[in-house]
């Protein structure tokens, strides 16, 4: 364990580099810390370097609930690093605890964060770790699909397993990692180039790959086939796996699974996806080569865990340089979370979405509000934030349309009511509007072209859209069939809030059929 410490050091330093000092080699160096990255600590800003260590050491801080998967091995190394990184800021005379807090919290709500506390998925993590370790040590080829909804922690899990692998010296030296994303590598050609680039094969010069697609594929397959059980294992991580299944002929997947099924270079293919039916997307020949080992991740947070998660996102960790400040801050957060309004809002947000991303969205506004003039997170901030994120967007847009456009929307609502959701055209809407404006109100009746302009504005706002069977391009715009995309309750809601809404319009809207 002591022996590992040095390695640990390098690893966590590398992690700092990943956040702060970013290079194109970032991805490649992800698992293979090169000399270059280890040598860089002098380069990075001490302030930024501090943060991840702080985040990670949260794991070590005493917590009431399950203390995540933090391996006991890791903690000493982290503890060792944190003070050394924090030292310069302690020496710094204009160290501002508030600014530091702001920075830490903001880092948590950004996309490059790691959650301050990691818990759950112990079984899955162990399974994944064993699998990758077997590939790395015994030269066994594997394939696995990691399936779970968005924001349930798939990437986080993989990242942690990879880190664990790195902490093992025997494994670390012995494995090569290739990370691909279905979003970025949109076809097999790009994916292959990326693979050769990340493997640093001989047809690459610096960052560039010189060879045609066919050559690269042939070269890669040959290189993989030449290897045997003794050669260095490769772990392929395919993020957004379902997008790889949409490539032509699924060539890449076929070749990867084929290599994993035959006694060639040991590889481990891990697909990450949010589609439950992803296996059905695969071709038969690809499916038969896949091991059908699937790992399902589901969000099983309970309300109390959700509250704890919220607290862990807001509290400062134990190795904050200014301990007094951290204590008062944490006490304040404790009070905040005890308040009835905050509890209520957390419960409501939880019933809307129980994943971490929803929580982050909720916390974004209160965290960003923290500044010198407003040094605390208050319950009012949380309330405002919830109000901001839970506004009905369409009602908000309806609030801004002109009175004429509102009339048209009400006319459309009536038409949809009368004709049971049949699509309508402009002429019908206009005659409905005219009926209203002439008979029942003292309002000015606008000419057809003026009304048409309002109607077209509604169309650009996509509050109405042309009906699928609406008769193609060769129909006059007056007769194009449209359907309304606003729910009647949204209309009524908008009318309640509409500034200076004439009474007759309100009445007209509330009558179901005129």
């Amino acid at each position: 364990m002591v022996k590992n410490n040095h390695q640990e050091d390098a690893n966590s330093l590398r992690n700092h580099v990943k956040v702060s000092e970013i290079t194109s080699h970032d991805r490649r160096s992800n698992l293979t810390p090169t000399k270059r990255t280890i040598a860089t600590p002098s380069k990075f800003n001490s302030q930024i370097a501090l943060s991840p260590s702080l985040l990670e050491s949260r794991i070590a801080s005493p917590r009431k609930h399950k203390l995540g998967i933090s391996s006991p091995k890791k903690t000493p190394a982290k503890k060792r690093i944190a003070p050394s990184a924090a030292k310069p800021s302690l020496v710094d005379p204009d160290f501002n605890p508030l600014e530091e807090t702001q920075r830490i919290l903001r880092l948590r709500i950004s996309q490059v964060n790691k959650p301050p506390v990691i818990s759950g998925y112990e079984k899955e993590r162990k399974q994944l770790y064993d699998l990758m370790k077997r590939t790395a040590t015994t030269g066994e080829s594997n394939s696995l699909l990691l399936i779970g909804p968005r924001g349930c922690g798939k990437s986080m899990l993989i990242q942690r397993v990879v880190e664990d692998l790195h902490s093992d010296v025997a494994v670390k030296e012995n494995v090569q990692l290739v990370q691909l994303t279905g979003l970025l590598q949109t076809d097999d050609k790009l994916a292959l180039r990326e693979i050769t680039r990340q493997l640093k094969l001989e047809n690459t010069v610096g960052d560039r790959v010189f060879r045609s697609f066919a050559e690269t594929l042939q070269f890669l397959i040959e290189a993989l086939k030449k290897g045997d059980q003794a050669s260095k294992p490769i772990v392929f991580i395919l993020d957004e796996f379902d997008l790889f299944a949409q490539h032509k002929n699924q060539t890449l997947l076929y070749n990867l699974f084929d290599v994993s099924q035959s006694a060639q270079t040991p590889i481990c293919v891990i697909g990450v996806t949010c589609r439950l039916d992803v296996v059905e997307l695969l071709e038969k020949r690809v499916k038969s080569r896949f091991s059908h080992r699937q790992l399902y991740l589901f969000n099983k947070l309970t309300l109390s865990q959700y509250r704890d998660l919220c607290r862990s996102y807001l509290t400062l960790c134990s190795d904050f340089p200014d301990q007094d400040f951290a204590d008062t801050w944490n006490k304040n957060i404790q009070c905040l979370l005890g308040e009835v309004s905050v509890k209520d809002i957390l419960e409501r947000q939880f019933s809307l979405t129980n994943d971490v991303r929803g929580l982050i969205t909720l916390l974004t506004y209160p965290i960003c509000q923290v500044n010198a003039a407003h040094p605390r997170v208050t319950a009012a901030d949380v309330v405002t934030s919830f109000k901001l994120i839970s506004t009905d967007t369409k009602s908000a847009m309806l609030h801004g349309v002109s009175t004429l456009e509102l009339c048209l929307i009400i006319a459309m609502k009536h038409l949809t009511d009368i004709y049971d959701g049949e699509p309508f055209n402009f002429e019908m809407v206009y005659s409905e509007y005219q009926k209203f404006a002439q008979r029942r109100s003292g309002m000015q009746v606008y000419e057809k072209p003026v009304v048409m302009k309002a109607y077209e504005h509604l169309q650009t706002l996509e509050l109405i859209k042309s009906h699928a069977g609406g008769g193609g391009a060769q129909v006059q715009k007056e007769y194009k069939l449209m359907s309304l995309l606003v729910h009647p309750s949204q209309i009524l809601d908008a009318i309640q809030k509409y500034p200076g809404c004439p009474t007759e319009i309100k009445q007209w809207a509330s009558q179901s059929i005129c």
């Binding site: 950004s110 996309q111 509000q369 967007t393």
Partner: protein, 463 residues
């Protein structure tokens, strides 16, 4: 940033951008300090002319934050977007360095003369972005990518929008992508979903706020109160129809001359608001139906105003206002078009009644029964009819004897190419093509008037 200076900056920003204090405050707090992390992606929506781009740009400019602004309409393919971003990285001060870097890369690449970075896929884009930014001083600051008219991004490649939303995570850089759109976020979701941005709504301006903003345009020669009176009149006419600030300002600017003329001529005192109102209001109402719809261009409208002011009784105005629908057609073409219109909008079974010589009158009872389906034809739009039916109607309405020659067929096909008729099927004449008439009632009435034909008598809907 010291606290006091921040307050000053805020106030100066607020004086430049009116009625957006809340939004500016929220944006500033979300952006935070230069080197602080920001939420990965931000989605700003609101109506046109609610100051989305203005507020964003002034906040970014004012704090001198590094940003790239681009309009998604210009990025017809993802390639333009990538290259615009990569070639416009705001590396202030260190421009030289990035130049050197580009040169270095180009030399490696083998092409020597061009500094322009080329990139056509997402993989290279992220790679180049990361390598450029990490070499430049930008790496310690948040870089903002502002994408205006973001709804257009939905139409380009499927993975572009998810990548832009996750740019921070994928590149590991301190980047914030800001989307600006008129359309609500729900309409952007597709496929298996993606990283949800933080949504921010810019509410519309209320009437008071519109007044306040529009009064900024007051010409120097005009008193504030008088101008605000004028704006009040403009809003009273246009506010029901239009909330778009740009449109309203344009209208106000165009008609101001007409408003101020009586005062300049000393016919009306500035305090006599009633007279001023009576003078300008009908003029503005006319503007609503002409210049607002762009049937008259702004230039023509100005000329028209001058003419009217010079000589109130002149007919100049009528000369310049074009009739909404008028096309010069040959004599037979007009009749063909009328026949097509009648065939499109009349039910076939009543043709006999309209066009046969000895037809029975419709009984009153039948008239009554049919009432429900009566108005429907002009509401539902044109129906398809075979060419034979149109020709039969044509021969019965046209005066004199017409020889069925090739010219008639040519005229039909030219009507189709003018988009007055729409042909359905039947490229070969033997297969008897079907047609649909694509003109409005107003148009056909004006055409019929030129040939002294009362089309209304033949339309079932208006009997």
């Amino acid at each position: 940033m010291a606290e006091t200076s921040e307050v000053d900056e805020d106030s100066s920003l607020n004086s430049k951008v009116l009625c957006r204090q809340q939004q500016i405050k929220t944006l500033l707090s979300l952006f935070g300090q230069r080197q602080a992390m920001t939420t990965g992606s931000l989605f700003i929506y609101g109506h046109t002319g609610t100051g989305k781009s203005l507020v964003l740009q002034s906040v970014l400019n004012h704090n001198k934050l590094p940003y790239i602004f681009l309009n998604s309409i210009e990025c017809s393919s993802p390639r333009f977007l990538f290259e615009h971003i990569l070639n416009n990285l705001p590396v202030q001060g260190s421009y030289q360095i990035s130049q050197d870097l580009n040169n270095l890369l180009n030399i490696e690449n083998g092409d020597d003369d061009d500094d322009y970075i080329q990139c056509d896929n997402l993989t290279d884009f992220i790679r180049l972005l990361v390598s450029f930014i990490s070499e430049s001083p930008l790496k310690n600051q948040t870089l903002y990518l502002v994408l205006d008219k973001a709804e257009r991004l939905r139409e380009s490649s499927a993975s572009l929008l998810p990548v832009l939303l996750r740019l921070q995570e994928l590149s590991g850089l301190n980047v914030c992508t800001i989307f600006v759109s008129e359309i609500v976020w729900e309409k952007f979701r597709s496929g298996t979903g993606f990283y949800e941005p933080y949504c921010l709504h810019f509410p519309d301006y209320s009437r008071q706020e519109l007044m306040e903003i529009m009064c900024l345009d007051a010409p120097a020669s005009c008193e504030k109160d008088l101008y605000s009176l004028y704006i009040n009149i403009v809003l009273s006419v246009f506010h029901m129809v239009c909330r778009d600030l740009r449109e309203l300002r344009h209208i106000a600017r165009l008609n101001y001359q007409y408003f101020i003329e009586p005062i300049e001529k000393n016919e009306v005192k500035p305090s006599d608001t009633k007279k001023l109102w009576r003078n300008i209001e009908p003029h503005l109402k006319k503007a609503l139906t002409s210049v607002y719809l762009r049937e008259v261009s702004s230039r023509q409208w100005e000329l028209l105003q001058q003419a009217e002011l010079a000589d109130p009784d002149s007919d100049f105005s009528k000369a310049i206002v074009p009739s909404r629908s008028y096309v010069e057609l040959p004599y037979y073409s007009k009749f063909l078009l009328i026949a097509a219109y009648i065939a499109s909008y009349n039910p076939m079974k009543y043709d006999r009644r309209f066009f046969a010589k000895f037809s029975a009158k419709v009984s009153k009872r039948a008239k009554h029964v049919k009432k429900s389906e009566r108005t429907s034809n002009h509401l539902l739009g044109p129906k398809v009819f075979p060419i034979d039916r149109m020709m039969a109607i044509f021969y019965s309405i046209v005066e004199g004897k017409v020889v069925p020659s090739a010219y008639i067929n040519v005229q039909i096909s030219s009507l189709v190419s003018l988009h007055l008729l729409h042909q359905i099927g039947g490229e070969d004449k033997i297969a008897a093509p079907k047609y649909k008439c694509l003109v409005t009632l107003d148009f056909i009435r004006s055409v019929a008037r030129t040939v002294h034909f009362d089309v209304m008598r033949y339309l079932y809907d208006f009997l």
